[in-house]
């Protein structure tokens, strides 16, 4: 399976099964487009006719390109086959360890974000804070169910986790106290709106947490429209922006993200990403809201072309800024073409319901934070473990090959089949799909590869000049 497209002056060919990316000229691009359904003779004749006004494209030139394409095919980096399916399904069925928890330490929030999937922190339930005892039991559950995995991830989530800060500190201390005895390494992270963030809290976070996700949507009017205080008064942006700048600097512009959501109301979201960059942030993640189509702020199918154009605009601006030495990382354009995750990771999905679980303030286990509150997806609790094995088995079978819509998608080994929660909310099936999300994911991948192509070209030019 091959995907080819033109972007920002580059002709790009992605061989899906090998993950190989080729940047080609027009002639090679056209030869590759005909490759699967035509003979070499037919391709040669077609190219000589198409490029009749370009005398430098001779029969021998076309035949040379055909030879190159054949060599790449024989090498397994173009038109390669798919040997993964059986291996990966078997892998996921065997894989029964838990390695990551999303700890909902507070089902309460001091903001009233209009798009909050957590129902302004309460998850369709009651306001509650996790006790230290429940949190400790959750960490014990993680240790006991993590098999030989060394690295264990715990994200302090909410609602707003700083509303239960003392428990967060105690749980970090407890986790650290267990590492040596059990040969585990806890990687703590926190996701916060910043309202309660203080210097003291920041010192602790910088000492103990591998990542901090800072929620902010971009420009002041955009942020405050969708992320107001619960009483509607004042500007959350004005309160959090100086604090977030301090976080970024104190962490040397690394191991954090300012993380925003864009909606139907700010389809020009590239301006929000660039606003965050202009404010000095170097690690930025802004992504589309996921909401019921009936919500006025939901992304609609007719928004997609405009949103794709925004991704193009953003990609070009990122390249321009990098050339000037003022670049930044945009989470959804970050790809690693030389390393990156193995094929098992790429096919196995996000791990929700298997290696990744969410824990409510009272210790219930759900497949992920987005299912919390829907009791159809209650898996068990931190005291008794997984009770609903049948539900967990369904999640074990979530993978790229279980989703019909992934079958012919060029992005499948880069998004891992997408989000099961989004799929469920839009199709009623955890193995379904959320087509708007898929369209935007494909666009982001195209932009990310284009950036790599441009950077490779710039590096080659630099080398030539030196």
């Amino acid at each position: 399976m091959v995907h080819q497209y033109k972007s920002n002056g580059y002709n790009i060919v992605l061989d899906v099964n090998s993950g190989c990316v080729h940047v080609v000229d027009d002639l090679a691009y056209d030869v590759i487009a005909m490759w699967e359904n035509h003979t070499p003779e037919e391709i040669t004749a077609a190219m000589l006719e198409r490029y009749a006004d370009r005398p430098e494209i001779t029969r021998s030139e076309v035949e040379e390109v055909i030879g190159d394409v054949r060599a790449l095919q024989e090498d397994g980096s173009l038109f390669s086959d798919d040997p993964y399916r059986d291996a990966v399904i078997d892998f996921k069925q065997r894989n029964a360890v838990v390695k990551a928890l999303c700890l909902h330490v507070a089902h309460d929030c001091n903001l009233g974000c209009k798009y909050c999937f957590a129902d302004e922190g309460e998850y369709m339930g009651r306001r509650a804070l996790m006790s230290y005892e429940v949190g400790r039991q959750a960490l014990d559950f993680l240790i006991q169910n993590s098999g030989s995995r060394v690295n264990l991830e715990v994200d302090f989530f909410g609602g707003e986790p700083l509303m239960n800060w003392d428990v967060v500190k105690q749980l970090v201390a407890y986790g650290r106290s267990q590492e040596k005895e059990h040969n585990k390494k806890f990687r703590f992270t926190i996701t916060t709106n910043g309202v309660l963030l203080t210097d003291e809290i920041l010192d602790f976070v910088n000492k103990e947490m591998g990542n901090i996700v800072l929620s902010i949507d971009g420009r002041k009017e955009v942020n405050d429209r969708m992320r107001p205080f619960r009483n509607g008064n004042g500007s959350p942006y004005d309160l959090i922006m100086p604090k977030f700048k301090k976080v970024a600097e104190s962490r040397h512009q690394d191991n954090y993200y300012v993380r925003g959501t864009y909606t139907h109301f700010n389809k020009d979201f590239a301006s929000d990403v660039l606003h965050l960059a202009d404010e000095g942030f170097k690690q930025i993640s802004v992504e589309p809201v996921v909401a019921a189509p009936t919500e006025p702020y939901a992304i609609r199918e007719e928004d997609v072309p405009e949103l794709c154009a925004e991704y193009d605009r953003l990609a070009k601006e990122i390249l321009s800024r990098r050339r000037k030495g003022n670049g930044f990382n945009f989470f959804h354009f970050m790809i690693d073409l030389t390393g990156g995750p193995c094929i098992y990771k790429r096919i196995s999905g996000c791990g929700a319901g298997t290696e990744y679980l969410a824990v409510t303030p009272w210790g219930d286990l759900y497949p992920c934070h987005q299912f919390v509150g829907n009791t159809d997806f209650l898996l068990g609790n931190v005291y008794d473990g997984i009770q609903n094995k049948e539900l967990q088995d369904r999640f074990k079978l979530c993978n790229v090959y279980a989703r019909e819509s992934c079958k012919d998608c060029f992005a499948k080994f880069w998004c891992s089949g997408g989000c099961s929660a989004n799929a469920y909310h839009f199709s009623g099936d955890i193995n379904g799909s959320y087509e708007i999300g898929c369209e935007l994911q494909r666009k982001r991948l195209e932009c990310a590869i284009m950036i790599k192509a441009a950077e490779a070209e710039a590096a080659a030019q630099e080398k030539q000049e030196s």
Partner: protein, 48 residues
Amino acid sequence: MKRIQTLNSRNLKDSLKVGGCGECQTSCQSACKTSCTVANQHCENKNK
């Protein structure tokens, strides 16, 4: 190849033999929480 430049030397199929250790970060924990992004995850397999 003068008309074709390959950007990456690594073929995903190579990882079929040595991958699957599971030590890498859970994709949703990183910075999204509403999507699934694996393309930018780091491989943490020490036995590659």
